[in-house]
Symmetry: C2
């Protein structure tokens, strides 16, 4: 009976291995690693602090190292590639699928990459060059060239005998492709159809001619959207003339979906999605410091707005106490909208056609929530500080800033996208600067008019 | 030759349909919709503002409505279900797969759900009850019961003939399951193996006995992690005794991966991931207002900290101008850490075993970046305000708050997870409150000691 899978098995294994490592039982760990599939070793490595990671890597079986490297995230992969010499790199990457090979070698510094390819055999070098011919983030860079192609004039029976002779199918093969003598893709035949139709049928009469194909230059995020929407398991990749180049499989697409989603989430928090959870302290510090510097400029911009109202602030310290509330609420309202718009862009909901409606809607949500919380804060401040006109001022500023937050939260990412700036990275900071400046200016400005 | 797929085809179609709708060419739109696959109609509906959405829905073919409903996101589905009467609901959901049927009907209010099931035929009702027996977010709720099972003692040839007789395989079938007479799962046979091995082989001798199975009660996010790590296309689901219940396919898992990632991103921005991009204004306002209220409490907490230092603020308006900088930087530093930890939890990197190392690392990153920006702000403020002791004070407060931000950014989500609070939802607000309070308290507190 197959074992019921335990959720926490990998973490249990990690604990056990850590204990074994600490007691110096390297042989035991080596044996455990040998029985662990590459994908789980990759997770173990990613979940290990730098020192443990090095020791674990040295204990892994060299035959598995290529596959493990392919499964690792970018930063963890780079940290491990640094531990390897050219020779072991060449050995580890032998026998990898084309797309996996390209994925691993893309992370190498140029000089080492050159060394590695000169040591490869001709066939591997040729395969690698094919994959590297397409820029990262295009369909071509994640396609595999191991497709099985058929001619339209043979029968199902011939194909079945051919497959039996061949003895094995490439991983995740659910469809065979039909090409003409010039390798132009003319249709496809799902495996399940081979199993269910009359063996005497000719491929020509059973193949699907409407097969949708991906262009090798298509962006991977477009590829991911199509796979997601159409529930594909694999899809063919063709060049501009319609010639079959290879196929993309769902496992690579799942990685892209995960990476794109992580990119948006991490980007909004000012983080690089490549950042390794267990990176060394200095590396993490360096990666994050630039974003903090940008934020310091934004914070100083806000401070220079308050600086314009120094005279009023001197007169009334209460303003200083209350002045952080308005920017904070505008920032949150704007960030809610920003997150909605960035997700909408990611899943392909937003186009020129509906963006005007969306701008109107989000501005209106800002206005309504602005009104609700403006009235609340006006009442709270009037009671707290016993000054109804101060309540009116903060309420008015809150209404202006939250309406602005809603509007800016949708306009900023739309404009950025038009100019090819990534809104997940730059949108949050731009938005906060707007809501800080507008919030402080409207609150302190109105206060100056009344009390100044 | 198959058509090269255009990226923007759906949006072009949306533009064209909108134009046709505006000119009242309903028959034209109806014809276009008839030629559009359900997944693309779902995207069109999701990308349409409320009024357009209603009109589009009325023009869709009723035979496609069940599938379209299944493809829609939660909020869009709910908005459309409201437009349908019980009879058309029953008609639309006829013929859906078990998991899709359950997915659609879960979104109905209880009273209508009861009405719908009484109008279903017995077979459909039975299938539905099986799927609804498992709580949402468990493997059981997304499994399909349309598995093909084999007995271990037959030959490949018998199976091949059986499949040919049967005439069709359930969608995304890549593996057949081998069960004993009590329906206990004893192994599996990939389709590709049926095609490549000798037809005279007995299933018993070629099946994989190590097949990993999912428990029906396993959390869907665990299921997603396993699929992602092992590159599965489908996996069997069993009950506690090992009896085969059904199978889960990659297309449903892709939806879960996308939803979980969206949940984290939207949650960090104070948004519900169910929120429809094109929801009506009032609905969006209502959904977001609670979070804004929570933030108002947090902002008032920060204001009440400044309030404690009113006397000092009265003396020195410069403090008011500078006091927003320290909370801002601490908040950003903390949020960077928080995003890293939430992603680490989502991909399964973080366990009891490595969390202590992670706390140390993130605190250290906070300390180092704190030192860098403390020195910078000290110099900037000394020069700007011509007051080196003020520079020292703000630098000291910055160092304290950014170190605290790093520490809180990792401790808060770890503690929340321990108490089953979702850190993606509550973590950001808790963190900002900590960095606001600590930032204001340390800056204004030190200033009071020096100038007060």
């Amino acid at each position: 009976m197959p074992e019921q899978m335990e959720h926490e098995s990998t973490h249990l294994r990690l604990s056990e291995m850590n204990e074994a490592l600490e007691s110096g039982m390297f042989v035991h760990v080596k044996r455990m690693l040998y029985q662990t599939p590459p994908c789980d070793i990759a997770l173990l490595l990613e979940s290990s602090p730098p020192t443990g990671r090095k020791v674990l890597w040295r204990l892994t079986d060299s035959d598995m190292q290529g596959e493990i490297l392919d499964e690792l995230n970018e930063d963890a992969k780079t940290s491990i590639l640094k531990l390897m010499d050219t020779e072991s790199l060449v050995a580890a990457t032998e026998g990898l699928d084309t797309d996996d090979l390209a994925n691993v070698l893309r992370s190498l510094p140029d000089s080492i990459y050159q060394e590695v390819i000169t040591q490869m055999d001709t066939q591997d070098r040729h395969r690698l060059e094919t994959a590297m011919a397409y820029p990262e983030d295009t369909a071509g860079s994640i396609m595999n060239t191991d497709t099985i192609t058929l001619r339209p004039d043979v029968t199902v029976d011939v194909i079945l005998r051919y497959i039996r002779l061949r003895g094995e199918l490439p991983e995740a093969t659910d469809t065979l492709y039909v090409v003409d003598k010039d390798d132009l893709l003319i249709g496809d035949v799902p495996l399940s159809m081979l199993l269910t139709t009359d063996p005497n049928s000719v491929i020509n009469s059973i193949m699907d001619r409407q097969a949708e194909t991906l262009s090798a230059n298509m962006d991977t995020s477009e590829v991911a959207k199509l796979f997601e929407r159409h529930d594909w398991i694999s899809a063919p990749v063709t060049d501009d003339t319609g010639k079959l180049l290879g196929r993309i499989t769902i496992d690579d697409v799942v990685d892209i979906i995960r990476e794109n989603a992580e990119h948006d989430m991490m980007g909004l928090a000012g983080m690089d999605d490549d950042e390794d959870t267990f990176a060394p302290v200095l590396q993490s510090t360096k990666r994050r410091t630039l974003w903090l510097g940008v934020n310091l400029i934004a914070a100083l911009t806000a401070a220079s707005v308050s600086n314009m109202f120094e005279a009023t602030l001197e007169q009334l310290a209460t303003l200083a106490i209350l002045m952080t509330i308005v920017p904070s609420m505008g920032g949150i309202a704007g960030n809610q909208t920003l997150a909605l718009v960035i997700r909408g862009m990611a899943v392909g909901h937003i186009s020129d056609d509906n963006s005007r409606w969306l701008i109107g809607k989000e501005a209106m949500v800002g206005v309504l929530n602005g009104a609700i919380w403006a009235i609340s804060i006006a009442i709270i401040v009037s009671l707290w500080k016993g000054d109804p006109s101060l309540g009116l001022i903060i309420g008015g500023a809150m209404f202006i800033n939250m309406s602005m937050g809603g509007l800016a939260g949708v306009v900023i990412p739309l404009v950025m996208k038009k100019y090819n700036i990534d809104p997940a990275l730059a949108g949050g900071m731009a938005l906060t600067t707007v809501t800080d400046v507008v919030g402080l200016f409207s609150f302190l400005g109105m206060a100056t008019l009344v009390y100044g």
